[in-house]
């Protein structure tokens, strides 16, 4: 086979191998192995007075403890198990008005909080 054709095939094979490898690792940022442990805590509806919230877990911890505080006073609490890569919606029936209402969640060493200043 002529040399230029071998060079072309060589370049093509190397490029193919390189790109297959890059494709294989391109979604690592969604892979917990390449992430520090973290989870996201968010209100289901950020605009309304609803206190329903969600936890999305990207850590190896699966035990989550949550507390609902109204002006720093605990109103209710609960425990929930969430697997790696899973999301759990938690409904809150308690109504709080005229107060800063905070949801705190702890799992392992990480503690997160979200809050709403709910007008009367």
């Amino acid at each position: 086979m002529p040399q230029p054709k071998i060079i072309i095939i060589f370049i093509s094979v190397l490029f193919f191998a390189s790109s297959v490898y890059l494709f294989a690792i391109d979604s690592r940022y969604n892979d917990p192995k390449y992430n520090k442990s973290w989870y996201a805590l968010s209100f289901a509806d950020p605009k309304s007075n609803s206190l329903d919230f969600a936890i999305e877990n990207f850590s190896n911890e699966s035990d989550f403890h949550w507390e609902l505080l109204a002006d720093k006073i605990k109103v209710s609490e609960g425990d929930v198990q969430i697997g790696n890569g899973e999301k759990k919606d938690i409904k809150i029936d308690t109504a709080t008005t005229g107060k800063k209402t905070t949801i705190t969640v702890s799992s392992g060493n990480i503690k997160q909080e979200i809050y709403k200043n709910i007008s009367e």
């Binding site: 790109s19 494709f23 690592r28 989870y39």
Partner: protein
């Protein structure tokens, strides 16, 4: 798993269909199977011509108001390929075929094309080794940068996604900083393959373009010097050494699309111009012009047509490269005129025959028609040209020092490059148009980047300086070859330096060059990156995209949020959506007063200016990094913290 494999196969089929076959078919239509181009040249050039052909196909669809859907993309490219193949099938190529075995015009030693691309066993192994190292180092670097984090890539992929979603070419909301050629191939591949802009596909395409740019320089060097060793050394200086630094794989990972395509299309254009005008020097470049020399007029005209086609492709892709390209051409004309002063009449007579030909003129006028009547790049419509010309307006535009150049190009490469330009000047072959191109390429970029005021250039000097590494790599290879060329050639030229001394000198220089050139590749093997900031930014963006409507105004921070330029692609509500607090220094730029609201609303939301900005812009969501910016919001009662991770907080303004 099967779906992933199927998607991968589809991507590669689309890659070949969009980026290789159109150009290859075009070359078949033009040259048939003649040996005017070697197989390697045909392979490399096909990619460049495909990029430009796909650009023009998309402009045609846009001009005809045909929605650019997946089907339209596939059919139009297929139609183009079919037309080329029909032309190839029914057109005779007697003129070109007969010329295929002729002595290559411009060859001093009478070397045929086949011999030019026929390497010795050692050379061949060395080429394969250099290619392997080039791709290996670049891939190793990309292992940690392939993720969607780069700011430039984020901006470009927004427009690619816009093209995919809206089935038309973007008009960039009037912004001159984006040019259509930067996005068409990504849009076409994204449309046809369904690959996500968040995947590795944009980086892989850029890696391919970067490699092709290096290979184009390889074939250009081989054609100019007719010395395989110089071409192989160029592969070393451009591909393996300094493989990471700008404008190499750092630009690939960083998504500096225009510059990378520019550094492919500019050498490609020079290659075509060289082959078009090599005949003006006659077959014996160093000698006087002879009336009866073989004059490959037909080939020259075709190569000029391809050169013009490539030039339009360049102008449709990147304004900075085009701007530099024009300046280099001024220098080419200047050097050509000065070095061939006595023979200018003869040269112009030959040039006229090449330029005023149906092939060249038809491509030129069709290109002009497209440029001004079918799809005009934004930088032509706006004042981009005016802002690029004038006295330097910022400290970053007053020119680079030699120390700056040394860190940008590499100490060893710069030293050898300087030596190369001196050797080139000393033994300048005035009839070798390649020498003129190379000298003009290096000298003009050197002047533009170190003394821009002399040319009234008002552009960031470091951005221009990045372009210097390409001609300097060729000159480094040339100087290394010239000083340490084989003993037989030295003796032929009357050298009296002992052979052992030459070998010792070569070993020392090569050690210096390899250590200096490979040191930046150490970056390729850095530790595993923590990717959680990217994942957190994208998770937060996804939350906001689902929880908000177009009536909500979001402000995010560019300073402390990773991958923030990609956030707008989650919304697709306009290029400037969400609003962004830029780098702090930009708000203090005395040459360009900025709006201050994006700064005030995050930095001081409770003071009068901040409150006015919230009222004026109706911003109701703020996305920040809590490690830097949470305190000012936590104390305010009119902000709810609605989303939280360790790296991102989102606040909602509740009244």
């Amino acid at each position: 798993m099967l779906e992933i494999i199927a998607n991968q196969i589809l991507f590669y089929i689309v890659l070949v269909f969009v980026l290789f076959i159109p150009g290859y078919s075009l070359l078949l239509a033009i040259f048939g199977k003649s040996k005017t181009l070697s197989a390697l040249e045909r392979f490399i050039i096909s990619f460049g011509l495909s990029i430009i052909s796909v650009d023009f196909i998309n402009f045609s669809l846009s001009g005809l108001h045909i929605p650019i859907t997946r089907l339209a993309t596939l059919i139009s490219i297929m139609l183009f390929i079919l037309i080329c193949l029909i032309i190839y099938k029914f057109r005779c190529h007697p003129e070109l075929d007969s010329g295929s075995k002729k002595v290559d015009s411009g060859s001093r030693s009478g070397m045929t094309d086949e011999k030019l691309f026929n390497f010795s066993k050692n050379q061949f192994v060395l080429i394969l080794l250099l290619l392997f190292l080039t791709i290996f180092i670049k891939t190793a670097y990309l292992t940690d940068t392939v993720f969607p984090t780069a700011t430039d890539m984020g901006h470009h992929m927004y427009w690619t996604q816009w093209m995919i979603d809206n089935h038309q070419l973007p008009t960039y909301e009037g912004m001159p900083d984006f040019i259509i050629g930067e996005h068409v191939i990504f849009g076409a591949i994204g449309l046809a393959s369904g690959a996500s802009v968040f995947s590795a596909f944009p980086v892989i395409i850029l890696l391919l373009i970067n490699l092709l740019g290096i290979l184009t320089v390889f074939i250009l060097t081989l054609r100019i010097f007719k010395q395989k060793t110089i071409a192989i050394l160029t592969l070393l200086f451009l591909g393996v050494l300094y493989a990471v630094s700008s404008p190499q794989v750092k630009f690939v990972g960083g998504g500096v699309i225009g510059n990378l395509i520019g550094n492919f299309l500019m050498p490609l254009s020079f290659y075509f111009y060289y082959r078009a005008f090599s005949a003006i020097g006659g077959s014996a470049y160093g000698g006087e012009l002879q009336e009866d020399e073989p004059f490959e007029l037909s080939n020259s005209r075709i190569f000029l047509a391809l050169a013009i086609f490539s030039t339009f492709g360049l102008f449709y892709t990147h304004h900075l490269t085009s701007f530099i390209f024009l300046f280099i051409w001024v220098m080419i004309v200047l050097i050509l005129s000065l070095t061939n002063f006595k023979n200018l009449g003869e040269i112009f007579r030959k040039l006229r025959k090449i330029i005023f030909s149906p092939q060249a003129l038809s491509v030129f006028f069709v290109g002009l028609f497209f440029f001004f009547f079918v799809f005009t790049p934004n930088y032509i419509k706006t004042s981009a040209v005016n802002t690029a010309v004038g006295a330097p307006s910022k400290g970053t535009r007053v020119g680079l020092t030699i120390a700056n150049l040394r860190s940008s190009i590499g100490e060893a490469r710069l030293a050898l490059g300087f030596l190369g330009i001196m050797i080139l000047a000393f033994g300048f072959k005035k009839r070798n148009f390649g020498y003129t191109i190379l000298a003009a390429w290096a000298v003009m970029i050197f002047i533009m980047s170190t003394a821009p005021h002399l040319l009234f250039v008002n552009l960031p000097s470091d951005r221009i300086g990045n372009y210097l590494s390409y001609p300097i790599a060729i000159l480094s290879a040339y100087s290394l070859y010239f000083v340490f060329r084989p003993k037989s050639e030295l003796e032929k030229n009357g050298s009296f330096i002992p052979n052992n001394f030459i070998k010792f000198g070569l070993a020392i220089i090569l050690t210096f060059v390899l250590v200096d050139g490979l040191s930046d590749s150490a970056l390729s093997f850095k530790n595993k990156t923590d990717l959680s900031p990217v994942a957190e930014a994208f998770n937060a963006s996804n939350y906001l995209a689902k929880s908000t409507t177009t009536s909500d105004i979001i402000l995010k921070d560019h300073n402390y949020i990773t991958s923030d330029s990609w956030i707008k692609t989650f919304f697709m509500r306009g290029y400037t959506y969400p609003l962004s607090r830029g780098y702090f220094k930009r708000y203090e730029d005395p040459t360009k007063p900025r709006e201050m609201c994006t700064l005030n609303m995050i930095s001081s939301p409770d003071n009068a200016a901040g409150k006015d900005c919230f009222a004026e812009t109706r911003t109701d969501f703020i996305m920040i990094n809590p490690q830097f910016d949470s305190a000012q919001f936590t104390k305010l009662k009119n902000f709810n913290q609605v989303y939280s991770t360790s790296g991102i907080n989102i606040y909602y303004k509740n009244n």
